[in-house]
């Protein structure tokens, strides 16, 4: 097995946000217009978006032990689920697995937002305004969904974010090795953080981003035992969409409407 993955170790992150900037630089993504901070502490912007593929989230500090303040700073991006809701929900088969990564094929994407709704992590976003001066191999265009592609577009040996982390809080490697490393690290940090946990081993048949947390996942907004979307429901929506698609003349705007109607009809 040569399946790759990222390991995010929040017990080591110093919050320098080099990952966030490196991603924007390598993928030539525009800066968002921000004021003050968008989320807790230094978090900026508030969340991932169509032009922010990875993001560092600062949580409020936990002062239950004043001599050992716990301030969690967490790198977040697409978790690259093995069995991905976004992929299953996409009516156009625009999302596929590529070398173990969940990647959007923009030639197929119609910007219907099915992936955005299906993702429990709030990862893919449809770009509203055209930003075609940005992007690498393909410009960023309105009406298409964007998210982290693990640098499989404009490729490099180590994805940009992981290549710049100064403290090894974000590493990249063989998933099996990283799982072993994460488990060993968990044992090591347990005395310091008794409720520490690992996220991503089992969720959606295993995530491509494994995260070591200082507490249980729910404390950091990560769903515990997240459920895959209902295959039956998806099939019904897709069947309805396939029918309505005959009347869309291949136009993305009509396709989006067709998807919306299908979704609403199925409920």
């Amino acid at each position: 097995m040569n399946k790759k993955a990222f390991l995010v170790d929040t017990t080591k992150c110093s919050g320098c946000r080099a990952c966030q900037v490196a991603c924007k630089q390598w993928n030539n993504l525009p800066a968002e217009s921000t004021t003050f901070f968008g989320g807790p502490e230094y978090t900026n912007p508030a969340e991932l978006s169509a032009i922010t593929f990875n993001h560092v989230k600062f949580f409020p500090v936990d002062l239950s032990k004043p001599e050992k303040p716990v301030w969690t700073i967490m790198h977040k991006k697409c978790y690259h689920c093995e069995n991905a809701n976004c992929q299953n929900a996409c009516p156009e088969n625009a999302i596929r697995r590529l070398d173990g990564w969940t990647v959007i094929d923009h030639s197929r994407c119609i910007g219907c937002g099915a992936c955005t709704e299906a993702c429990v992590y709030n990862v893919p976003h449809v770009l509203e305004d055209d930003m075609s001066e940005y992007g690498t191999e393909q410009p960023l265009v309105s009406g298409k969904a964007y998210k982290c592609h693990a640098c499989t577009v404009n490729t490099r040996d180590i994805p940009a974010c992981a290549s710049v982390c100064p403290t090894n809080a974000l590493t990249y490697g063989n998933r099996e090795d990283l799982v072993k490393k994460a488990k060993a690290r968990l044992d090591k940090v347990k005395p310091e953080y008794p409720h520490a946990s690992i996220y991503g081993l089992k969720e959606f048949d295993g995530l491509g981003v494994i995260t070591i947390l200082k507490n249980s996942p729910d404390k950091f907004g990560l769903p515990v035992n997240p459920k895959p979307i209902s295959a039956e429901k998806i099939m019904t929506i897709h069947a309805m969409y396939a029918f309505l698609n005959h009347f869309t003349l291949g136009l993305p705007s009509l396709k989006r409407t067709a998807y919306r109607i299908s979704k609403n009809l199925v409920g």
């Binding site: 080591k12 110093s14 919050g15 320098c16 946000r17 080099a18 966030q20 900037v21 924007k24 630089q25 525009p30 800066a31 968002e32 217009s33 921000t34 004021t35 003050f36 901070f37 502490e41 230094y42 900026n44 912007p45 409020p60 500090v61 002062l63 004043p66 001599e67 050992k68 303040p69 716990v70 301030w71 700073i73 100064p166 403290t167 090894n168």
Partner: protein, 771 residues
């Protein structure tokens, strides 16, 4: 302590975290705020800004009372056993020799008792009441845990945990390092803060060892290089003291002032000073510098008064300084009390700003709210090349000079600093040649040959070769400063760099061999001053027999006839039992009691100039020898401005922000000026997270967003809660992301020794901005 390395030196934190993970190292963070560094610490202790000496004095007291010191090291390698003059006194915050009218000490009584040979007397039993050890013990006995708590606001329980953990490194095979930065130095007691680190580390036997020492984390990649080459007003290249126009009117007087010793155990390296000065004069003035004219010593600029940063701006205000060059500096954002600095700049006839972008300072004449027609200053903007657009060396705080290459051409007309200076000098020379002038010789006869035959631009290699030094007669590059002479036969721009470019450019080396002893010295990577010694004062890493205190982390070892390991300090011919290790001190040992500073031989706690409380250790409020300029007016009082103001940086912005506030990816992360306050202060003032606030004092008023965070907490000082307003200082009115500079609020008062301004502790008030 005094450093938030995780925030401001994130790459350095890689190694801190490696030590924690691989060597089970413990990290103690002492800081007024819960910082990113604090969040990764084993133990966090809060302290009120400006009370470092109280905290460190408490640890020194803890170590001395419990006798947890590295006794053999302290006896052999510090002045603990040296007897101090009976005329030396300390009373209620004042050392003997104080002149209140001049705010100055005469340090005559801060002296050792000498024997008939002129060697300091010692009492190796450490029992004599006049020995340094006893004086130190008495001095710090006042720094009890109770006092530490009431002054610093750090709970006793936490303080004692820090003391216990730190002092555990007094064992010979345990070691601790102290990382500090501007949080330590930017106080009226800044130098004494660093001294307190040194005293503690000497008592622990942690100086000169692998993993020991005190580590200044520099604010920029080449701060070390700039001080090495004499950028500060009080030193000239190679840390030679700047000549004083009265005390050092002649070369003989300057040379006579070099430190002396009669102690056969002392190497007293500064006795070589005349060789270094003459070689430097030869490098500057070349053929014009002869023995007969004292190597043009008369041409060399001398200090008629101390001219630190604050004084320069006062002199602009007075019209003494009429023109200024800003090269890579942005004082309107970076300097203290900037409303006053701006007034001073408006008094200039001309200003040249050389920078990558148009900085806040370069546009001071058309800043928001002023009429440019009313400002007489003529401003020139010179576009500068960035670090990747030019070649040269940078020196890090480990003293490694690393050569960097030019990766891309500078855009447009932008030029490296060297090219700018070269063009300016040549232009000034031709003006002098044409029009004459008052004192043309130092300009016209300067030895300035940095442009190779057939080239148009000066070469940094030729500069580096001159810095290294060469024989004057046959221009042969020198291998080491041991070869420098005081007779004009050698030239060297900066003696400590002699050996960096002996033929081959050693700074360009990229050898990846770890080197001896497995302690990561990497002797083949770049070049380290002096003479590629990776750990200075390494003679202190072994006992008098030459055996390492910690055999697992040996730096050097004496095998009975020769030294192995790192390049040994002070000359390889001397064994460990014949010479003392601290070769730059004339007594050759580390100074627990130091005569060399202007404000006292022991660090003593004084309050910042602006403080919310009285001094609880003595009745002097502020450092009695700190620089107070009458003309800057009154300082703020707690009655009007009840909260401590302090300033710091964030990862996303760089210094005064000219390099980062134009970069969209960084301003996306930190787009605005903000301050950090505690939830309790926020509640009191009706401020919510994200509200706009006004922060003000008698020097200025700024607008900022408020970040309300539990990471800031009021501290109990003398039984009362004291609140703090933390501010970043990156913003200004130039560049694409603008905001108010926090330095509109900082005071024009400096540390007694370096006169670095007190940016880290002052007084402010805060209120919610009306919508």
């Amino acid at each position: 302590m005094g450093s938030n390395a995780a925030e401001n030196h994130p790459i350095s934190f890689k190694w801190v975290e490696k030590a924690i993970e691989e060597r089970n190292a413990k990290l103690i963070v002492v800081d007024p705020r819960i910082t990113k560094s604090a969040s990764l610490a084993t133990l966090y202790a809060p302290l009120r800004s400006g009370t470092d000496i109280a905290f460190l004095g408490g640890i020194i007291n803890y170590a001395l009372q419990k006798n947890l010191i590295q006794k053999e090291y302290v006896l052999e390698y510090t002045n603990a056993s040296y007897l101090v003059s009976t005329d030396f006194k300390f009373d209620d915050g004042l050392f003997s020799g104080y002149d209140a009218a001049k705010r100055k000490y005469d340090n005559k009584t801060w002296a050792y008792q000498m024997d008939e040979k002129g060697v300091p007397k010692q009492d190796k039993s450490l029992k004599d009441p006049q020995c340094v050890y006893q004086l130190l013990k008495t001095h710090y006995s006042r720094y009890t845990p109770e006092k530490v708590e009431s002054i610093t606001g750090c709970p006793q329980k936490t303080f004692l945990k820090v003391a216990e953990m730190f002092v555990s490194t007094h064992k010979p095979d345990k070691v601790a390092t102290i990382m500090y930065a501007m949080g330590t130095t930017q106080h009226t007691v800044g130098t004494q803060n660093v001294r307190a680190f040194s005293v503690l580390q000497l008592l622990m036997g942690n100086m000169g060892l692998a993993g020991g020492g005190i580590n200044a984390l520099r604010g920029e990649s080449n701060v070390q290089g700039s001080t090495d080459h004499g950028l500060l007003y009080h030193i000239i290249p190679g840390y030679l003291p700047a000549p004083d126009s009265k005390k050092h009117a002649t070369l003989a007087q300057y040379n006579e002032s070099a430190p002396k010793t009669n102690d056969p155990m002392s190497i007293n390296w500064w006795s070589n000073r005349p060789k270094y000065l003459v070689s430097m004069l030869k490098a500057w003035y070349g053929d014009a510098a002869t023995k007969e004219n004292d190597f043009c010593y008369d041409w060399f600029p001398k200090l008629s008064k101390p001219t630190p940063y604050i004084v320069l701006f006062e002199d602009m205000l007075k019209g003494v300084i009429k023109g200024a060059f800003y090269m890579g500096t942005n004082p309107i954002v970076g300097g203290p009390n900037t409303n006053r600095a701006i007034k001073a700049m408006e008094n200039l006839d001309w200003l040249v700003a050389a920078d990558l972008w148009e900085t806040d300072s370069a546009i001071f004449w058309r800043r928001p709210g002023v009429n440019p027609e009313k400002i007489k200053t003529e401003v020139f903007l010179l576009p500068a090349a960035a670090s990747i657009e030019k070649e040269g060396s940078v020196s890090n705080s480990g003293r490694w000079a690393q050569w960097r290459y030019k990766a891309v051409k500078p855009p447009g007309d932008a030029k490296p600093d060297l090219d700018m200076l070269d063009l300016i000098l040549k232009e000034v020379q031709s003006l002098y040649a044409k029009e004459g002038g008052k004192f043309p010789d130092p300009i016209l006869k300067v030895n300035w040959n940095y442009t190779a035959e057939g080239e148009h631009e000066p070469s940094p290699h030729l500069v580096a070769k001159e810095i290294n030094g060469y024989t004057w007669a046959d221009k042969k590059q020198l291998e080491s400063f041991m070869l420098l002479k005081d007779d004009g036969s050698t030239a060297s721009g900066c003696w400590i760099y002699c050996g960096s470019y002996p033929g081959e450019n050693l700074m360009a080396r990229r050898g990846t061999d770890e080197g001896p002893n497995g302690i990561g010295m990497y002797p083949g990577w770049a070049w380290c001053w002096p003479i590629n010694r990776r750990i200075i004062y390494n003679r202190a890493s072994v006992n008098r027999k030459g055996q390492p205190w910690d055999p697992k982390r040996a730096v050097v070892t004496w095998d009975g006839t020769a030294w192995k390991g790192d390049v040994v300090d002070g000359g390889a011919k001397f064994g460990p039992d014949t010479k003392n290790p601290f070769i730059m001190n004339d007594e050759g040992v580390g100074r627990l009691f130091a005569k060399g500073l202007v404000d006292g031989p022991f660090p003593e706690h004084f309050e910042p100039m602006e403080s919310p409380v009285q001094n609880m250790l003595n009745s002097q409020k502020v450092n009695p020898a700190s620089l107070i300029l009458e003309e800057v007016g009154e300082f703020g009082s707690v009655v009007h401005y009840p909260y401590i103001g302090t300033s710091y940086r964030v990862t996303e912005h760089w210094q005064a922000g000219a390099m980062t506030r134009n970069l969209p990816w960084l301003t996306e992360l930190v787009p605005d000026m903000f301050c950090e306050i505690s939830p309790t202060l926020a509640k009191l003032k009706g401020i919510k997270n994200g509200d706009k606030v006004k922060i003000f004092n008698n020097r200025g008023k700024i607008s900022a967003f408020a970040l309300v965070t539990e990471r800031i907490r009021p501290l109990k000082v003398a039984g009362k809660d004291v609140e703090m307003v933390g501010m970043i200082w990156h913003f200004g009115q130039g560049c694409s992301a603008t905001g108010d500079s926090c330095n509109l609020l900082t005071p024009s008062i400096g540390d007694a020794n370096t006169m670095i301004p007190e940016y880290k502790a002052f007084l402010v008030d805060i209120k919610k901005e009306e919508a």
